[in-house]
Amino acid sequence: MKVLEIEHVTKKAGRRTLVSDMTFEIMQGDVCGFVGPNGAGKTTLIRMITGLVRPGEGTIRIEGFDVQRDRMKALGQVGAIVESPIFFPYMSGRDNLLNLAKLHAGIPKEKRAARVDEVLATVGLDGRGHDKVKTYSLGMKQRLGIAQALLGNPKLIILDEPANGLDPMGIRELRNLILKLNQAYGITFFVSSHLLDELQRICNRFVIIKEGRLVWQGTQEAWLEMAGTSSLEDHFVEMMTT
């Protein structure tokens, strides 16, 4: 079943084309790596998927709902971290989540606190939930970011450069968390990152873009076969420089 459908999506800013005629799909249960060099249009596309930016042309559907025409239903299926995980720093992690939980129609008032505690436990922050977010490390903020993305029981989680600034331990925790959520809850992930070795460990599919255009999409096996090497990073660099 298709969770995310991108159909002929184009976005221009003035004369500059940020994303050009992009088309691909992500199926339920996929962990899809979204890769491309800096300025390739990854974050712009993620902003369009999450409704922050309107596509100039084309259609984006989540679980069959058009993000522009049926925003409530489409975005109700999505949890996301776009760029860095920014929170309301004057509130505790738990209060941040309680505040955001109010915005999910699917979480009844009497179940909000339980749901918040549940997602805090899922990301391993149950012991620090009452601390102010401004005291959190970057790794903890990333985990809290995933917790807020999990609040509404999403079918799809979009992570934009989630490993940015994380130390190796933090990256490992994040990786394990993504795999756990994918395997235990069947959540589909769309992960943008520069860390190809890391993506290689968790992704079964890849979408590669360059200068706003789709370069390649397919399974990890197909990419490895095409690359003829065990390192996707080497082949990616080759693709981007030729």
Binding site: G51, R54, V82, M91, L103
Partner: protein, 280 residues
Amino acid sequence: MMALFHSEWERLWKRKIAWLFLISIPLIIALTAKYYIGHNASFPLGSPEHTTAENFPVMAMIEQLIVVFNVVALVLLTFSFTEEYRSGQLRLVMLRAYGSSQIFWAKWLAFASMMALFFVVYLVAAAVAGYVFFESSPQQTLFYYDHAVSSRYMIGYTLSYYGMAYASIVGTASVFIAIGVISRSSTAAIGLGMGFLLCSLGFPLIYDLFNRVTGFGWPAMLKYVSLTEIQFSGIAVMLSGSAAAREWHAGLWMVLILAGYVALFTAAARLIFTKSDRFI
């Protein structure tokens, strides 16, 4: 929409300035009372500047409306609109299936509700402090009135005064919101907001000076295009119903000015806030 309003209200309420202002209202009232106690030595009973238990709530509002309430409104709106947007915090809300127009109105409503709470608490605290710090008088003399009024009349006058003061804060808030959505940083929003207040305060002085120097004799009512001038003397003029005020339809004129500010600046702010692309 109610859920969005609750979420906005909660975030606004968790700001230190919101609850600090609320708990400092008794202190502000006490300091204002102290000032008016000294003031009473120079103004005998029967002067509109003489403070009594009955008119203290109005006097206390006159004293603090322009500076304290406007500045609190400016800071709250800067946090709510500028800081949340520019820091990217608002992304957390925007990713959650609500349209930017709904977010805009929820923010507006949360602010308006919080200011209403401040006004109610301020009125209650001032009413109590009036009887604690000042002597009661059966007759009150009001600004721009040509006759004394009863204490009973004073209750209605006080409520009307607070209602108009609140409306004037909604007017200045609409300007602050417009400033907030175009400002690139909280510092810029606060600076521009303060600049607007200073220009508003300066305009009537310049207008009077200009009139005096040139001898053009332009009507005094034009001074009230300044929101702070409405707050400073306009509300009292409007409520007085004096012959002079009736002559130039002071009440209608000032209500139109306030409505004009609210309509123009709220529409502009909403237009900017709800533009389709949000690169935050």
